[in-house]
């Protein structure tokens, strides 16, 4: 008797102990047992934001051909239960009609949201933030190793006009708006992770709303600055042989030499084209984000890339996927630009004696100009009658 009781208790305990293991090891059987519905494994995977197996469930979307008679249970649903309908929505198996009027209204469930969110909150923040911190550390180390690049022999005391007022206006319009966009973009991207724990959700909500307003509206000033600087400087930034010599000499940064350059040296040309190419790209993706669902551009871009490069990027994108790609691309391009511009700010201010004057008041020391842009000085002097009006 005792032996029988003991055996029964052992069997019950063993069943309880091993049941979760069965659920995980034999999901197909478990799924079959509950008519193709969710298993414990599916639920656990979804909670951990892992990919859940929807293989068999995706087909359980009801069958109107076998609809129950109108007088019977679910008869008015045309053979589909609520669960069937939502599975159909989830797996894009039924034609959806809504009364909502906007371009993305018929996408009710979109799986891509989770990987996008994970990318945005994970690698984009960590690699992007790491790149910004990395360039700052690198510049500090560079400053202590190389020191400030000085004017050899000291300033001449006479000046030459480096940039006209309209050129400086275009530069500062672009620079000021870029800094505003960079800071508000970082607040928008990273605030949830880094600011809410410090200042709390209420204060962050106000800050985020303000950041969004600045980011959305200052963007137009950035685009205007981009066009202005492109028109004014593109002719001076066409690459030529001189740039190759300048690059081979490393700009003279480490050798303390002064390779010849016209108005812009190869380093400045790299900054110019980086800002122009990435600036256009960040503006286009920004416009796509500014007018949600109105300016999809990734499906077409992927199509062109597939044709030209033979890649296999997806070209059938839902409106939400378009927005998610635009958001990720916007962030990545912005981080690359921030890294380049931080280095540009360094060399144009604390990194080089006399450099800030070029954009400060437009007048640079003649000796500075001769050392860094000798051919440009010769051109200006030739135009002005050998420097009479320097």
């Amino acid at each position: 008797m005792n032996f029988k009781l003991f055996s029964a208790a052992f069997l019950v305990l063993a069943t309880l102990a091993f049941n979760p293991v069965w659920a995980q090891d034999i999901p197909e059987a478990a799924r079959a047992d509950n008519g193709g519905g969710q298993t414990l494994e599916d639920i656990m995977a979804r909670q951990e934001r892992l990919k859940a197996d929807g293989g068999s469930r995706s087909k359980e979307t009801g069958d109107p051909a076998n609809a129950a008679a109108i007088s019977e249970q679910l008869g008015t649903r045309g053979g589909r239960s609520d669960a069937d309908v939502w599975r159909g929505v989830r797996y894009d198996d039924i034609d959806i009609k809504t009364q909502v009027r906007n371009p993305a209204a018929d996408v009710l469930i979109q799986d891509g949201g989770v990987p996008w969110y994970k990318l945005r909150e994970g690698p984009v923040i960590s690699y992007g933030g790491g790149a910004i911190l990395g360039i700052i550390v690198l510049l500090v180390v560079f400053y202590f190793i190389r020191g400030r690049i000085k004017i050899e022999g000291g300033p001449a005391g006479t000046t030459i006009e480096r940039f006209k007022a309209v050129e400086r206006f275009g530069h500062w319009l672009l620079a000021g708006s870029f800094i505003a966009l960079g800071l508000t973009g970082l607040i928008t991207l990273m605030g949830r992770s880094f600011l809410i724990p410090v200042i709390g959700p209420d204060a962050f909500a106000t800050m985020a709303a303000g950041s969004k307003w600045i980011h959305n509206n200052v963007a137009w000033a950035f685009m205007l600055g981009l066009v202005m600087t492109f028109v004014m400087w593109v002719a001076h930034n066409i690459p030529n042989k001189l740039d190759w010599h300048w690059l081979k000499a490393g700009g003279g940064i480490f050798t303390k030499s002064h390779p010849s350059a016209k108005k812009f040296n190869a380093g400045q040309k790299i900054v110019f084209w980086t800002v122009m190419v990435l600036g256009v790209s960040v503006s286009l993706s920004g416009l796509s984000l500014l007018f949600p669902f109105q300016m999809p551009m990734f499906a077409d871009t992927f199509g062109i890339m597939n044709n030209v490069l033979g890649t296999s990027f997806p070209t059938d994108l839902t409106p939400h996927e378009e927005m998610q790609y635009a958001n990720l691309w916007h962030s990545i391009v912005a981080f690359v630009m921030m890294v380049a511009i931080i280095a540009h700010i360094y060399i144009g201010s604390v990194g080089m004696e006399g450099a800030f004057d070029a954009m400060g008041n437009g007048q640079v020391d003649v000796e500075w100009a001769r050392q860094h842009h000798d051919l440009w000085v010769e051109e200006v002097q030739a135009k002005q009658g050998k420097g009479e009006s320097l």
Binding site: Q99, V100, R101, N102, A165, R168, F169, G170, H171, W172, L173, A175, G176, S177, A180, K212, I214, N216, N217, V218, W220, A221, L224, G225, L290, F291, P292, F293, M359, G360, N361, G362
Partner: protein
């Protein structure tokens, strides 16, 4: 420095004028959740 400050002020002026200007063209950035877009008609 005057040019720099005037460029920053210009950026702010553009930012303040942008929403009203866009509205004139029937464009409304960042207002996609307004009632017009979700009205059942």
């Amino acid at each position: 420095m005057k040019v720099m400050i005037s460029a920053f002020v210009a950026a702010l002026v553009i930012a303040f004028l942008a929403p009203a200007t866009l509205d004139q063209f029937g464009w409304s950035s960042a207002e996609q959740t307004s009632s017009e877009n979700v009205r059942l008609d």
